[in-house]
């Protein structure tokens, strides 16, 4: 592209060019490419390439005894295998349980904290500052920290086992392990939820709260009658985000990996963790790829249901 410069916004003869239709056109091709390249490379290497590999892996199988290096196209066989596995279905239900519990716990605690800060109880300014921190910590670090806190023999929690042995032992009991990962996830996400809820609560006019106080409602009543309905759009947004993040998010993987590693006895083997461990430890790429696709489909279904049926009941002012 050479020739006349289209770069000018102001033409000396014609006067200022219509600013609404103004377009900056680069003279050479390499400069815009250089600008776009990092982003394009990122997208290519971390999205398109993996996505196409997953697609091909999901529908093909590596010959059992190696050989030609060609993969066999096997159609839906991989999916059939996945669905026939009861372990897989257990993982699905674990994931769902984890996602809903972690979301509920995280949002509930964040909401209570946000309400307290909004009421400007003593010290709320300081707490507002601290509540946000956990979100800035990487999930594996959270997992590690909680592993120390909740280690049954040496962690802070170990004291409960002196009251009665095995009162707390996530290495032995699946339910304890599940509680552990749920608490980790919730703890990390409370900060994030808290920011949005605090911002939302602050946008509710003070006089509304005062009017309801005059009308006789206390803090709990007010939360249900006023703050939750008026905060519904924010809450809905957070619900979608928390559910998807806990269902498939990297945080879930990181936390499970560093606390329970899916155990004991696969009782915290949630879908994201299962996919990664099957692929890279079991080296079953095809099965893992098929599970990934199912997971993606599930997320799409989830989000669709939420927008279709939940959002309708949300008031947007």
């Amino acid at each position: 592209m050479s020739g006349p410069s289209y770069f000018l916004v102001y033409d000396r003869n014609a006067g200022p060019v219509d600013l609404m239709n103004k377009r900056a056109v680069f003279k050479s091709w390499w400069l815009p490419m250089a600008f776009a390249l990092p982003q394009l490379l990122l997208i290519f290497f971390f999205f398109y390439w993996p996505a196409t590999s997953v697609l091909t892996w999901a529908f093909s199988l590596e010959p059992a005894f190696g050989g030609v290096g060609e993969r066999l196209f096997v159609g839906w066989d991989n999916f059939r295998d996945v669905f026939a596995d009861t372990e897989y279905w257990r993982s699905v239900s674990l994931s769902l349980f984890f996602a809903f519990s972690a979301t509920a716990l995280s949002m509930f605690i964040a909401f209570v904290l946000a309400i307290c800060v909004d009421r400007q109880l003593k010290g709320s300014g300081l707490f507002r500052f601290f509540y946000i921190w956990p979100y800035a910590i990487a999930a594996p670090a959270v997992g590690l920290a909680f592993r120390f806190i909740f280690a049954p023999e040496s962690g802070l929690i170990a004291v409960v086992n002196t009251w009665s042995p095995d009162l707390w032992n996530p290495a032995k009991f699946g339910s304890h392990a599940m509680i552990l990962v749920i608490v980790c996830f919730a703890w990390k996400w409370i900060g994030y939820n808290f920011i949005f809820m605090t911002a939302g609560l602050q946008s509710i006019p003070r006089s509304l709260i005062e009017a309801s106080a005059m009308d006789g409602s206390g803090p709990v009543r007010r939360a249900f009658d006023l703050q939750i309905p008026l905060l519904a759009p924010t809450l809905f947004f957070l619900l979608v985000l928390n559910l998807t993040e806990s269902f498939v998010g990297p945080d879930t993987y990181g936390i499970v990996d560093l606390t329970t590693e899916g155990g004991p006895n696969k009782s915290t083997d949630v879908m994201v963790y299962r996919i990664v461990s099957e692929a890279f430890r079991g080296l079953n790429y095809s099965g893992a790829a098929a599970q990934s696709l199912v997971l993606i489909a599930l997320i799409m279904l989830f989000t669709f249901i939420q927008f279709r049926y939940v959002e309708r009941r949300v008031h947007y002012k």
């Binding site: 009017a211 005059m214 006789g216 206390g218 309905p229 008026l230 002012k317």
Partner: protein
């Protein structure tokens, strides 16, 4: 119906004090208006009565019971907010009935009272609408309905009419007055609109900078402003002021060498003291130049109001407004005589701003004004 007693109430935010010791008593069933310029602390005082603002010092009691530490809901007050503060996600019926719902009033009874309240405030046809679907005046009515359904002992209004257009404001003013007659609950109404204040009040409280300047009936306050501030704040156009010196006999003041009779006996002790003279534009008279006891003035310009006019004259470079009904036309630039009737002259101390004349003359002036 409840009496409200306010004893030496103060409010500070951090180190700045907003209210400096307010003492007031509102009688049962009275309609009290608190008037004052923006930022003088009217809303703060009202919100302290309501329980929405902590009382820094002093005591507020309602019906003889100290309410300092009571929650808003336990004080028996209801409040109408300036921006109405309607619950946006509830319809009109739910808005009006919310207090009853919180109080656990059974559904049937609630419905009945909502219907009755809606009838009183004229909203029967709008019960299913959301606040966003109402006009300003209708929202105002919902706010009123929400306040009256609880049958409170005390009504608090914080500039409830200031968001309405002029015509609606007059209409709602009348309705509020009518409502008060019907419910006769003690009402405290905050405004910075003096017409609203004068027309609504049984008793008027004028505040300035966190102090109560004067308490009295609207007429008392109009005719006997206790301070220069009250004189200048009440009345439109505003009171004219000029500085002057008390004559030797204490009975006349000298205005640029001209003796102006005053109605108050200041006593010879005040002779030679500088005072501020105040007179309302509607009490000044313009006559032909040179008449005895008149002050020569030059007509500056004339504001036509339709029902009357305001003539601005100049004395020694100082603007002086004279309000008059229709009648003689005064040409700009012409010289006229300004007459200041003695009984309408207010004297204020230059230092303290306090009114200077004595009490006996108060009664006399009050009589003349009532007779007039």
């Amino acid at each position: 119906m409840a009496e409200i007693n306010i004893r030496d109430v103060r409010k500070s935010y951090g180190r700045t004090q907003i209210l400096h010791g307010v003492d007031l008593d509102f009688k049962s069933g009275e309609f009290v208006v608190i008037l004052g310029p923006s930022g003088c602390g009217k809303s703060t005082l009202l919100r302290m009565i309501a329980g929405l603002e902590e009382i820094s010092a002093g005591e507020i009691s309602i019906d003889g019971r100290v309410v300092n530490d009571l929650e808003p809901r336990d004080r028996g007050c209801s409040m109408v907010f300036q921006n109405y503060a309607l619950y946006p996600h509830m319809n009109v019926a739910a808005n009006i009935g919310y207090a009853l719902k919180v109080a656990g009033v059974p559904r049937a009874e609630r419905q009945r009272r909502i219907a009755e309240t809606a009838r009183i405030v004229g909203l029967e046809d709008f019960l299913d609408r959301k606040p966003a679907q109402l006009s300003g005046g209708q929202r105002q009515r919902v706010a009123m309905g929400r306040a009256i359904i609880r049958e409170p002992k005390v009504f608090l209004f914080d500039e409830p009419l200031s968001n309405l257009d002029a015509k609606l404001r007059v209409q709602m003013r009348v309705e509020i007055r009518r409502l008060h007659k019907r419910l006769s609950a003690t009402s405290v109404f905050v405004t910075h609109d003096q017409v609203e204040a004068m027309t609504l009040a049984d008793r008027l409280i004028v505040m300035n900078k966190g102090h109560v300047e004067q308490v009295g009936t609207p007429l008392e306050i109009y005719h006997r402003p206790r301070t220069r501030f009250v004189g200048s704040f009440i009345g439109s156009p505003a009171m004219n002021f000029f500085e002057s010196t008390v004559a030797a006999d204490g009975n006349f003041v000298l205005l640029d060498g001209i003796r102006v009779a005053i109605d108050a006996a200041l006593g010879s002790a005040n002779a030679g003291n500088a005072v501020a003279i105040g007179i309302r534009p509607e009490h000044c008279r313009l006559i032909t130049a040179g008449t005895a006891n008149s002050i020569p003035a030059v007509v500056d310009f004339v504001e036509e109001l339709g029902a009357g006019r305001i003539v601005h004259v100049e004395i020694d470079g100082q603007d002086f407004a004279v309000a008059m009904d229709e009648g003689q036309l005064w040409e700009a630039g012409s010289t006229v005589g300004l007459q200041l009737p003695a009984q309408h002259i207010h004297l204020f101390s230059l230092e303290t701003g306090l009114r200077l004349d004595d009490v006996p003359s108060l009664k006399r002036t009050m009589k003349t004004t009532v007779a007039a």
